[in-house]
Amino acid sequence: MKKIATGNKAVAEAVKQVQPAVVAAYPITPQTEIVEQIAEFVSTGELKSRYIPVESEHSAMAACIGASITGIRTFTATSSHGLLYMHEMTNWAAGARLPIVMANVNRSIGPGWNIWAEHTDAMQERDTGWLQVYVSTVQEAYDATLMAFRIAEHNDVLLPVMVNLDGFSLSHIMQPLDTIEIGDFIPPMYLPHAIDPKNPAGYGGLTGPDQHFKFRWDIERSMRDSVKIIDETEKDFAGRFGRKYGFTEDYQCDDADVVVVSMGTLGKEAEVAIDLLRKEGVRAGSMRLRWFRPFPKLNLKGKEVVVIDRDYSFGFGGVLAKSIQAQHKMNVFSVIAGLGGQEVTYDDIADFIRKRRIGEEFWFGVNDHV
């Protein structure tokens, strides 16, 4: 069904379609609209979930963990400080192998209080064992949330999935949304280690070094296996519903001499910049990274690469730039832009590409010129 919706509403619509048995959530700007919409769906009976209005994000994730281990589907949503507050529990969710799905509306971290888009919140979760996908449109927020459940619950994965959408620049903007009936696209959830009084077992108790080490490897093995499951799921989705997704969204990359790599809404802005540059005769392309965990192998051979990071790892660099440098053993032009919701236009992105200085790092709006 075609409608107009915000990114937040699109996520809630997807949750309604999937019908998790338990939703536990706490409000935080700019995510609040998701939980409000879910509470509304629950109150009208459109969503037959138990909605637990917890007293904190730490408890939101703990409640999802407690619910998920019984073998049922769960969902939560958060942002920024909320995500950081649940950090202990996000680790627990992955370690406990629970296919919890969470929407994270990317927002910067205080102080000072800043409610606008930045990816540093989710980046700080990158080593927890969560799969992470970053979306760029309202439709993609919807589609990625649907697919997240199937990927998380696949028995070769059994890891939680975080769907990231940019605060305000996606969470609060309106775009067309085509909602679908998923039918049997997502099979019923089966959790092999579900808690059951008829089959008593201990969960998460004392674990010695050798066993602990094996559990860690098991997470990594599933993370690697998830590559195939993500691919399968996205292909099946495209086959059934006609919308294609992949680990990256490539725009005019094939013949490009220079490629700009980014995530989230900036990736859509970058496509407009590419159109501008192509008119100028610059053979440029855009690669929008969708899946950040598992981190995909990127096809950047023979290209000059400009990376836009809407995040920063202090004392190290832009996380995306450094990841690409490490993976491809190549120098890139690392642009730090859009922190705290800083406006970055397609003209700005075109300028980053035109005036690239491979091997250097540039803070947009702070360093005096490109």
Partner: protein, 301 residues
């Protein structure tokens, strides 16, 4: 399950064991004594949610467990929230499985209090049991909000200067349908209270005194005796509140009228050795005040 009213002697307590031999508990551990009766009372259709505490340790090491019911271990501050998710999930699936949080005093009075308060306020259908050994026992006896004034712990080497937090008053302020105090030294009473608590829909709370031989520094054969001295001195009062109506146990009623001198309870415990006389005096004042308060509350009704 036998109904709580029917139990007349300890011999009638079910023979089924859910805490098996070979726990890794310390000798004389009243945590393991209490949980044995809690689980006998709850029966096999029970899931235990355990935050970081001594009970995380006494289960044993993976892949072994000494508990014959499912135990979900969770991070320190998260037990009540985890249990509220679990309770909602089981109820959504139409299952009546008992959800019991079994948490220490640190995980209840300190780091877990926010999650617990939230779960009680939301009317979560579960039983929360706090077994109280009055310090962080698992990490080697550091002070907690439950440590009584004057007690020495590894972080209060000269005795705690602050009073014990009144968690029962905090719980009472949430108006749960059922709340009680109990002690590992009175297993029959504990058994009855657990069974009763599980008959209520919504949150219930039992606060169990759990004397700790290495932590309190008394000899291991005195665990039960310490619990009884706590009750006889009036330091620990056994009662229950059903929809706010207080009923004090007969043992405690007798003790409240004619308590034994507090020193008889404190003297066998190394943690109170050389207690500052001012702290002792304050402890006695608190004790008298608490007796007066509870007597007045019961008389009112």
């Amino acid at each position: 399950m036998i109904s709580p009213q029917e139990l007349k002697t300890i011999a009638e307590i079910p023979k089924e064991e859910y805490v098996l031999k070979c726990t890794s508990a310390c000798a004389g551990c009243s945590d393991s004594l209490a949980i044995r009766y809690v689980l006998k009372a709850a029966g096999s259709d029970t899931v235990l949610v355990v935050p970081a505490c001594c009970t995380s340790v006494i289960q044993g090491t993976y892949p072994n467990t000494a508990f014959n019911i499912p135990v979900y271990n969770i991070a320190f501050g998260a037990a009540a929230a985890c249990a509220s998710g679990m309770s909602n999930a089981f109820r959504a699936a139409g299952k009546k499985t008992n959800i019991i949080v079994y948490a220490g005093d640190g995980g209840t009075l300190d780091i877990g209090i926010q999650a617990m308060s939230g779960a009680f306020e939301r009317g979560t259908d579960f039983l929360y049991i706090c077994y109280d050994n009055e310090a962080y026992g698992n990490t080697g006896m550091q002070r907690s909000g439950a440590t009584p004034m004057g007690a020495r712990t590894t972080t209060t080497p000269t005795g705690k200067i602050d009073a014990k937090k009144d968690i029962d008053a905090i719980i009472a302020a949430h108006n749960p349908p059922y709340m009680a105090t109990a002690a590992a030294a009175y297993p029959q009473d504990l058994f009855k209270k657990v069974q009763k608590a599980l008959t209520f829909r919504g949150p219930s709370f039992i606060h169990v005194l759990a004397p700790c031989p290495p932590g309190w520094r008394f000899s291991t054969e005195k665990t039960v005796e310490m619990g009884k001295l706590a009750v006889k001195s009036g330091m620990w009062i056994l009662y229950e509140r059903e929809f706010g109506k207080l009923s004090i146990n007969p043992q405690s009623k007798a003790a409240m009228k004619r308590p034994i001198p507090l020193e008889e309870y404190l003297a066998p415990q190394g943690r109170f050795k050389g207690i500052d006389p001012k702290a002792l005096e304050t402890l006695k004042q608190h004790l008298a005040k608490n007796i007066k308060k509870l007597s007045a509350e019961e008389a009112e009704e």
